[in-house]
Symmetry: C2
Amino acid sequence: MLATAIRTAAASHRISAIPIGRLEMTTALAALERIGLVLSLERDATVFFEGGDAKSYFKVSRGIIRNCTLLSDGRRFISDFYLSGNFFGLTGEGQNLCSAEAVTAVTLVRWTRKSVAGLAERHPGVAKCLRLMVNDDIAAAQEHMLLLGRKDATEKVASFLLMMADRGGDSHRASLPMTRLDIADYLGLTIETVSRTVTELRSRRLIRLQDSHDVVLVNRGAIEELANAA
Amino acid sequence: MLATAIRTAAASHRISAIPIGRLEMTTALAALERIGLVLSLERDATVFFEGGDAKSYFKVSRGIIRNCTLLSDGRRFISDFYLSGNFFGLTGEGQNLCSAEAVTAVTLVRWTRKSVAGLAERHPGVAKCLRLMVNDDIAAAQEHMLLLGRKDATEKVASFLLMMADRGGDSHRASLPMTRLDIADYLGLTIETVSRTVTELRSRRLIRLQDSHDVVLVNRGAIEELANAA
DNA sequence: CGTTATTTTGATATACTTCAATAGGGGTGG
DNA sequence: CCACCCCTATTGAAGTATATCAAAATAACG
């Protein structure tokens, strides 16, 4: 189970470089397979709280997770979404840096940090895989910061659509299971601005909406130009 | 030399938890001491370029470094500053995620990734120290994203002053060696807005300026309230 | 001491937010 | 099956925070 899990993760776009020998890893991880616990959660359930003890690593088997933080007056920010195949909870030695919530109903696999740490110690391949996943999270954060700090609404939404398309199976279709509020809190905008921007892209025939959560990138090239990828 | 270097890093606020036995680490690092190369750079010199091969780890001995990325039209974003004692270049397996430039004249220590990786393999204490430093970078990125995505100009500037004060020696004084443009590019604002916001804080008697690069936090409590720390 | 870079201040413009209303979609119960 | 409700998304009108454009003041530098 975990062998499959980590292989999937390594194959996902979020692992930037081909990491390590598959055989090595599969062998290493076979040991951990039976200690990963499966859990299912309803939409909007909390996986863990910001500030709580970081005790576990998770993998998304099905559904989607959001990592979010709140300001005292209720303003919310979403630092990342984790899709099926992605690992999360890797960061935050000691305390969780943000809370994790189920955007949709989800199935997760959970491992204790202790057991993963033990495995990583015995198997350098596992350690390397974890390092690569953390690295991908950092790369994502860097790009996200650039987006938040220096991109306008159109660039933000275009970037988001491209990211979701790339993380899904089809580079010309973005599935958006989250609400406009989630998207707004990820992009540092309001729902109204997100909505208006999507409408604008649609009226320019760059995208087509099957419904509000399923976007076809009709002209991906033009969207890439708008996104202003660094 | 490196022993001192890493000890300093571990002592700095950027290492969130007391990491590992000092003795263990000092012993481990003694071996690396002689392979760290010292280099000095002028103000505005580039340490490494975004997209270039990530070949080295660095420690700032003196001065300050900015990590920045550019959009195609010249908009710039600064993801982090590294002050004396901080390590950088730890992230970006393979390619550098952003370029690193000298904000002031700097003295750096450089190690090849290979040599550090080798040391980390032989000495778990070193590996752990590196992990903790990467973790601190992630925590900083998380907070930075929240700031960029959901804070207004006053909150941004107040947060920045507090961060700089905390990273310096004196919690009631922020030394700002960088220009207003650097600050603006870090906060996702313009120089004019940064300047106006600083003026506003000054006229409210929350801060006092020795000169534009040396800020006394007269009323730190009030600034903390304004900063709206999560 | 003049020259240039940086910072501050001022006036105006605008992108995005806020407030408000309408429209769509999905489920439930009558 | 339709009517109703709730939740989400869209659209509209007005307000505001921040950007932009422009100039003055201050600091840094040779």
